[in-house]
Amino acid sequence: MSSPFWSALGKLDGSVHTIQSQVDCMRAALEIDDAKLSQSLMQARREGALLRDLIRAERPDAKWNDRTELDMLIHDLEIAAQERRNQQRRNKLMDLASELEAGKVKHRFEARSSALNALRLEAVKELRKEAAAPQQEKELPGPDAGIWLHWACNLQEGKDSLVLANLNKDFGAVERFIGEMEESYWVPGERANSSDSSLGSAKGVAASFASR
């Protein structure tokens, strides 16, 4: 998903490019289209205003003097946005991991329960491993951790094939776990750490998991 900043900037560059071509014609002492120039100027002004609003929305105190500073600013904003997105992904993974770790699976058969719990633990392990990765590009589909298992146990092969495929590609252990699980088997517990913690908490969760 492209950044809104770059989109607005791209539109602004298009308008300015039209204006610049007219100015180059004038520099070559050629005749120009005045109407086209005026229209391009108006459009460029609108798009510039939009870009300024986007920037100010992200950073109200943002200031720049020229295009270079604008580019740097937008770059910073983009990095920050990317960090936030990463953090959001990480937090989601951590939350789910905590949720799966706190609860347990109960089946009438001990062997089945043991197997399902083993899958549960693998899924938790995978989630925490992915959460600990520096570049968090894998997005965990589905809702928040509290209702995630309910959502996952109701996925249909035909209707949610794309989700299941992504889940299978990025989170294989989680996908195997929810494939064997039934919602009735799940016994939720109390999670030890909240998902709003920083990245450092993720490591702490990972460390507590390893100790188990």
Binding site: L12, I19, D24, R27, E31, W64, D66, L70
Partner: protein, 700 residues
Amino acid sequence: MSSPISSALAKLDGSLQTVQSQVEFLRAGLEVNDSQLSYSLADARQNAAVVRDLIRAERSDASWDDRGTLDYLIHELEVAAHEQRNEQRRMKLLELGDEFEAGAVRHRSEARTAALNSLRQEALQELRAQAAIPEQEKELPGPDAGQWLHWACNLQEEKDADALTCLRTDFPALDHFAGEMEESYWMPGERIRRIPIQPSSPSRPAANVRRPPEAPTYSSPPPSPGDYTRSSQNTVARADTPPGGNYAAAVARAYERPSASTAVPSEVRRSEATLPQRGGLALVVEPAEVQPEIKTCEKCGATYSDDYHVCPASDLGRRAPAAVAAPTVVPRTAYPTVDKSKNGGNGASSQKEAPVSTSTAAVAPVPGTVERPSAQPLAKPFDKKAKTRKQRRAEAALAPVPVPEIPRPKPEEEIAASEVEEKEPWTQKWQTLQESGADALSEGKWRSFLVAPEVLAVAALLLLVVVGSVWMVRRRHTSSSPVVTAETKAPSSIPTAPTANADAQPVTAANSAGSTSKNDVQSKPQDQNAAGKTNTNAAQPKDTTTPPVQVLSVPVEAPKTTTIAKREEPAATDAAPPSLPGAMASNMGPLVKDISANVPKLAGQKLRVSSGVAQGQLLRQVNPQYPPQARQERVEGTVVLQAVIGKDGSVRNLNIVSGPSLLTKAAMEAVKQWRYRPFALNGEPVEADTQINVNFKLGE
């Protein structure tokens, strides 16, 4: 100094710089000043229009797509303008140099004059040296060449300090000369006008071409894409080409008559105008009469070129003859009367008849009659030239037969002779003479019989018959193929006459009194040579049997004479004369041999041919190369060369007659390579002397 286009372009760039900064703000997503941007845009549009207009003014068809092309185009225009400025500076220097060269300094002191002329030469050399510099950046202060010296001689130290400083710095020799000169010392001349070199530009109009005023224009073909035209025409302008002003005035002076008469026939005036060679000669000898064939009637002032002139005045306008010997008055019908009684009276001439003068100068003219020009006094130097055919015929017709001088009889005897003459016509006189017999012969009375007019008429008639028969016999001999054989087989036969001009006269002279026959025969070839030379052009188109050789109709030895007569046979229009009797034919044999022996050989002589004739014989013509220095200095003109065409048709002995010094060498080098058809005289090649003109003209 920047060009206006560069200035306009700089203004455009300045206004666009403001626009560009606003655009950069827009690109940076910053807020811009709308009013300032609009103002800048309007200013830029206006400046762009100015640049376009300036470029189109220099080059109307100029087109460009971007700034790079525009910059290149402007660069080209500025280079052309720079070159033009350089050329203008150079031309100014050259024109001033020409002005100095054409004029002269005159001072009452010769030493001062020499010193000033020396300074003038130094200044001239300095100007030419400066003009030769490719990038001419030194600007000569002052006006054009025509007023420059006047301006320079009026410079003041305080008022014109800048100009003087510039002059002293850049043109020290010129400054020195101007400082020493006074305006009154200067005598301007006529300088050659130079043509400035125009820079290549498709929209620039061609410069006006100005011809040098002193060089007459020739009716030569239009100039080729090269740089010159060459012409071997006559060196003088023809009537259909308007000459320069000076030349026209000279020609007008040559033909100016003290008493201009409106009665001068227009044909005569036109004929005067179409005789440029005479007009050219008049430039040299202005008061001389250069038209010997055009005479002037002193009474009415009319000029006439024909043999007859009808003078409206009572007295015929003829020049008073120079010192002419007193005419010998000879009675017209003088006939020695045979007075038997007096027995010894010589044929006394009658005095009752009006005396006939052998010189027409003393005859009282009859008003309104046609006057035949007789032998005019040759007081002018140019009258002594070959007479025309008409004149010779007229003179022959009027020339009286020389008669022996008859002693003036005593009055009584004359009266008696006249009385007897009235009574006795010539037949009776003959009878009387016969009757008188030996007595009369011994007494010499036969003389009076011979001078009788009837006898003279009969003698003249017989002579004409003889001449005609001789001429016809000779024609028959030349018409037959074995020409030589005919000559050898019939040595006594009369050879054919060489040409048709005045044939009767020499032979008539040969057949007249025997003592003068040989002399007349000897003079005959010379006359016929002169006639032959005038017939050169006439004989040329008829000569088709031997194309490489140009034959002149000159009678020489018998075989060659017959050959020439054979060629000219188609032109003969006279009727065949009656054949001669055998006795007379045999008598003409020795005479022919005398003629053959006395005709000089002309093969070794050098012909003088006009340039027009020579042009017709030109086989190969090499174009001269235009000298670079002359091309740079825009020197044009005609080089006149005197050349000898050798027997093999090559050009020899080239000499320069006139022309610009820068062009003579190129002209000579080219003309040396020309080849002509050899000129021949009596079948043998001879050298020909002619004049060649090479015209150098620069294209635009």
